[in-house]
Symmetry: C2
Subunit: 458 residues, 2 copies
């Protein structure tokens, strides 16, 4: 017994045994409710199949807001409303197309390329862009070849690093080519950019996602290609001169009105202290946004549903938020924090799900060491549901502004990451690639963490 106390003390596990038991019983009830009567999967079906891709400013996003508002009410929120914010309105503007030919020999094979314009990118104009391709495997190689760039299409063939076990690290590593590649190439006179998709998938789907232009340089059009096309093209470029044609139609319309969708359960003891849980409602246009971030949307609503089903009355006010415009502007998350500040709200915790509907493995956490330690003390309660660790990290894009404004502690669900970039921002991010139980277990662990923060604070 003394040895056990010692371990409990050393590891900072400070909850009493009776508290643990009561909590473990309640969390088991949450789990049973969600795994048996869960609506997350059905809700995801409706969002993906009846609405589909929902980029900021699109008619689908407007429809999704109304769907979310109605669902918040039906699911039992004390109140639900739309929080208006202006959002950027980029449109793809038509089909992206591309082909290539050899400049130094005849080639009889298939010569189309499957491309997707990067989000926020300019279009090529109706004639498209046609130029010889310069392949580079890194920015260092671009710098070394900068005298050859002028008039060319630069092809960034930087590969996802397979040795990162957590694929988000590979994404963080390779993401700079999608984000900054076009302007880096424009600096040296490139007329277009092709980016190898940020993925390790076995298929050829191109993966879009936001690019950012540096205002110091010309805005040149940019597309992503899938991995098979990237390997094919890089193979050809070993021994040949290759010319690519591509035509894209992306452009910005004036900013338009978008909304965060907010539902609320009012706190019984501390109604002025707010806990936020959310995901983002917008998605890229070529797919259904099932994992990114339909999963986070239905996780959020499922936590509300489970609390209502069990008759749980939170001590603090809990806000269930479907954020606008995560993908290409973060205006929803920004607005949420701005309004919270202007109303002098007190935000004690925020939790996001924006890493897919896969089996949970942990939570990342952003807060003080003491807050982290307290959250980690709950790990044994989450362990039966797949969460093995709560580790230092961010809390998700949409709740970042809240964290920066109020130093609110934040957390994000960390599902297994192995398949996420097979689907991320690609056509195959569809309902069929989400597993019902994996999705539901995310909601189980989020509900449990919200319950614990509501009960014990941070």
């Amino acid at each position: 017994m003394r040895m056990l106390s010692l371990i409990v003390f050393v590891l900072g596990i400070g909850i009493t045994v009776s508290g643990q038991t009561e909590d473990s019983v309640f969390i088991k009830r949450l789990s049973d409710e969600i795994l048996t009567n869960g609506k997350a999967y059905d809700n995801l079906h409706d969002l993906t199949k009846k609405i589909g891709g929902r980029l900021s400013g699109s008619p689908q996003m407007v429809k999704a807001e109304q769907w979310g508002l109605q669902l918040m009410r039906e699911t039992g929120a004390d109140k639900a409303w739309l929080q208006e914010c202006m959002v950027p309105h980029w449109v793809r503007g038509g089909m992206d197309e591309a082909s290539f030919k050899f400049l130094d020999k005849n080639f009889q094979g298939k010569n189309t390329l499957d491309v997707l314009a990067l989000g926020n990118s300019v279009g090529t104009g109706s004639n498209g862009v046609t130029a010889e391709v310069l392949i580079v495997n890194s920015f260092d190689e671009l710098e070394a070849k900068k005298d050859q760039v002028k008039g060319k299409i630069v092809f960034y063939n930087y590969k996802f690093n397979a040795t990162f076990v957590n694929t988000f690290e590979a994404y963080g590593d390779a993401g700079k080519y999608r984000g900054g590649g076009p302007s880096r190439a424009a600096k040296y006179g490139a007329v277009g950019v092709i980016v190898r998709s940020l993925s390790e998938s076995e298929d050829n789907n191109p993966h879009t996602g936001a690019t950012r232009y540096d205002s110091a340089f010309a805005k040149i059009p940019a597309v992503a290609i899938g991995l098979r096309d990237a390997d094919r093209l890089s193979g050809y470029l070993n021994n040949n001169k290759v010319e690519v044609f591509f035509k894209t139609n992306g452009h910005f319309l004036p900013d338009t009105i978008g909304h965060n969708v907010i539902g609320e359960l009012e706190g019984t003891e501390f109604p002025d202290q707010i806990i936020t849980i959310g995901g983002h409602l917008d998605s890229w246009d070529p797919a259904e946004g099932a994992h990114d971030d339909g999963a986070g949307v239905v996780h959020t609503i499922e936590v509300l549903r489970a609390f209502k089903a069990l008759g749980y009355k939170p001590k603090h006010t809990i806000r269930f938020v479907l954020f606008a415009n995560e993908e290409n502007g973060l205006r929803g998350g920004t607005k949420y924090a701005e309004e919270a500040k202007s109303k002098n709200e007190k935000h004690i915790f925020a939790l996001e799900s924006d890493a897919g509907g896969f089996t949970p493995r942990g939570f990342s956490f952003g807060g003080t060491p003491a807050q982290l330690k307290k959250a980690q003390s709950w790990t044994p309660l989450l362990h039966p549901y797949g969460v093995y660790e709560i580790a230092t990290g961010g809390g998700g894009s949409d709740i970042g502004p809240l964290n920066r404004t109020f130093q609110t502690p934040v957390s994000e669900l960390s599902p297994d990451s192995q398949r996420y970039f097979d689907y991320h921002h690609a056509r195959n991010d569809v309902f069929e690639n989400v597993n019902k139980r994996e999705l539901e277990l995310g909601a189980v662990n989020m509900a449990a963490l919200i319950y614990l923060v509501d009960k014990y604070g941070l």
Copy 2:
């Protein structure tokens, strides 16, 4: 420092810091090798697509043995051989078919049922079996209705229990209806059995698997149906009398010759002490056996490949074994232990992969408390690759006989279990439902554990 030593002491982590560093470096090399140059996925493609389902006694199983033997040699085993054993030879004997009709009203809808005969079950004869259906949701309900059973087809509609987070617990819970259901029903005069598939999948695929007849009762034919058909049929049975016809052709041919495929790396210091790693090569016939247990087969060969690629020379002899006949007889695992005993071999550890090619979460372990504690001390070394725990449990069917014969400590890879029973013994257990990285991470952790046992013993 004192506090750290205390924790290390209390938790039984006894490896020196320098040892940890050397080990973590080598395990990182194993991981990088497998995630970068891995052949497990390509090997699985060959096994599933070029050979396919491979039930004991089938021509495909013979082909798979030759494939495995050649691959062991090509991958660099010091020696490789086939270990002969007699195996049961059950054949499905043709297409299974089924339909139903209402006895108390006309019904215009689709009236076929998608069925698969249970493995080892007797066929119906050429006229099939036709009888009214009696639905029971449990054995208790069967007992309560025993007077109504005679001349009927009993439909066991026991559902997978969704509240078990680890789906293998649901399988353990529901498995008795497939295994013992036919004889329990025959005891009261049933003429056939339908079993709700052991699955929580969203599709309608029936899941086969072995049944076992009690010799005290008549052997009656038995089939599995998918979940949608089970729900449909049970819905009809609420208000109607339903007659089912089914026709199956299963039967046993005389036992035939099968083989374990064995490759070996000879130990440099203790060549007479053997560590075994394996999976089973046979599979049920309706699918490709990709997760069950193609994954375990290619995990096993990938560990050999990675050791050779890194020039690792084990201190103990390591046997890489593709076991025969796990699915309907366990003759391969039994033979392996019998021959080991007859040759007075010394087996210090055995590890199996037979739970699918999903992201690893842990290992189950069967051994003494001291052996378990030692294995658990290595968890921090496996943690970066997804293994969070080594927990008490079995070691997998095929190495069970070794454990029972020699008290050899055994272990089994525990991948994430959420999707396993979507595919298990069903037509969709195919290559396309295996993710490359998830598969590879299984091999990484198995290679690491074998390395640690080889270095430190148990």
